[in-house]
Amino acid sequence: MLSFEPYGNPTYFALLGVALLPLMIGLLYGKRSRLYETLISIFFLVLTFGGPKWTQGVALIIYILYEVALTWGYAVYRKHQNSGPIFYLMVILAIIPLTIVKVTPAVENGQASLIGFLGVSYLTFRAVQTMMETRDGTLKDYQVMTFLQFMLFFPTISSGPIDRYRRFEADYRSVPDREKYLGMIQKGIRYIFVGFLYKFILAYYFGTMLMPKLQVMAMHSRGGFLDLSWPVLGYMYAYSADLFFDFAGYSLFAVGTSYIMGIATPMNFNQPWRSPNIKDFWNRWHITLSFWFRDFIYMRLVFWFMKHKVFKKPTTTANVTYIINMLVMGFWHGVTWYYITYGLFHGCALVINDTWLRYKKKHRASVPHNGFTQVFAIFLTANMVCFSFLIFSGMLDKLWFH
């Protein structure tokens, strides 16, 4: 039986093109066929989770039923009552499967959990978000079928971007007018072609051609200070380039395909390498994830801390929450020392960045601001980020402990 990584090879794109054609004609004539959309969704889900990967498919089905039961149950409950403990309990239940998947390799010598499948994190983000908006009362009419479409929307199921229920629903319930839709097709096709350049040429060069060579050289050059060497530096940049082009390329495919289906899935990257500081970097890198963390962890924690007057100063509240927020992000990547260090590094970077921004605001007259400082800020930010990706890559783990 056929089995594919999403957007993995030319056959996948050929099938995608054929499957989308009737849907495009429909949308051009102002019609959205739910039945057809569901059929091609199932088709591509089977391609991704069927055949040799059928155990993942089973895990996906059980997981989805579980999350539907939780979100639906909570939506019904919330219509009549609104207790804090029940809400927290439901959120904990919703993230239990993801927690098991993330912790299992750490305690079972790298063995993957049986209940895991490609995209479990991204689906958990969507489910938890739906629950939080239900709690807030901003999401009032939860619909099981819409929730299923939202969760199982095949272009973004494996690695995002992470859409929002209400935004998705608005697109899904309507048909863009012809002029707008033609614009979306144009954009979608352009995104997919830029994605080809990113993923199959640039990421291939950095990730498949360059990185393995640099890794071998780095391992041979051990012995110096902290086992660091020029090849390690080269590896840091090659890894960063690969990470960016691979993930930005994938995201362009996912967003492009969504656009062609008349759904304006939000963008994941916005020129991250020109960020003048770390705070701005997180507004430009893996945007839907960092905004998810911002809206559902950072802002909520800050709100709670301030409402209960846990810390005296707002700056302390902000700093503590930065660290917690980024540590959670680190843990989410996996329970290894390098992911957690990566999270801590970014938490500290945000604290330092914020302190500097406050200082600059106060002493505006004495802090120079010109073309040179701008270029220096971008250079410094990009290098800090690349260094954090070196931690993230696990290369230091290989250098030091293997």
Partner: protein, 77 residues
């Protein structure tokens, strides 16, 4: 005190700037506001005007200039 004045008072306090001269300037782009400032704004609105805005109602693009914030608060009051 009317809503506009109260909101401007809160914003001036939070940003440390007089924003009344730039009612359509994007507060996030200029760095005057951030997530922390947003939460403080929501809490102040609750305390001073008794308006309850849940965090998930805070869609940044709808709250990014003084004018938009005032309009939003007026619609919720």
């Amino acid at each position: 005190m009317d809503i506009k004045e109260t909101v401007l008072g809160i914003l001036n306090d939070l940003t440390g700037n007089d924003v009344s001269g730039a009612m359509d300037d994007n507060l996030f782009d200029s760095g005057l506001m951030d997530s922390m400032g947003s939460v403080q704004l929501l809490l102040q609105l609750q305390g001073d005007l008794g308006i309850n805005v849940p965090v998930s109602e805070f869609e940044r693009s709808e709250w990014d200039t003084p004018n938009k914030i005032i309009a939003k608060v007026e619609s919720l009051a």
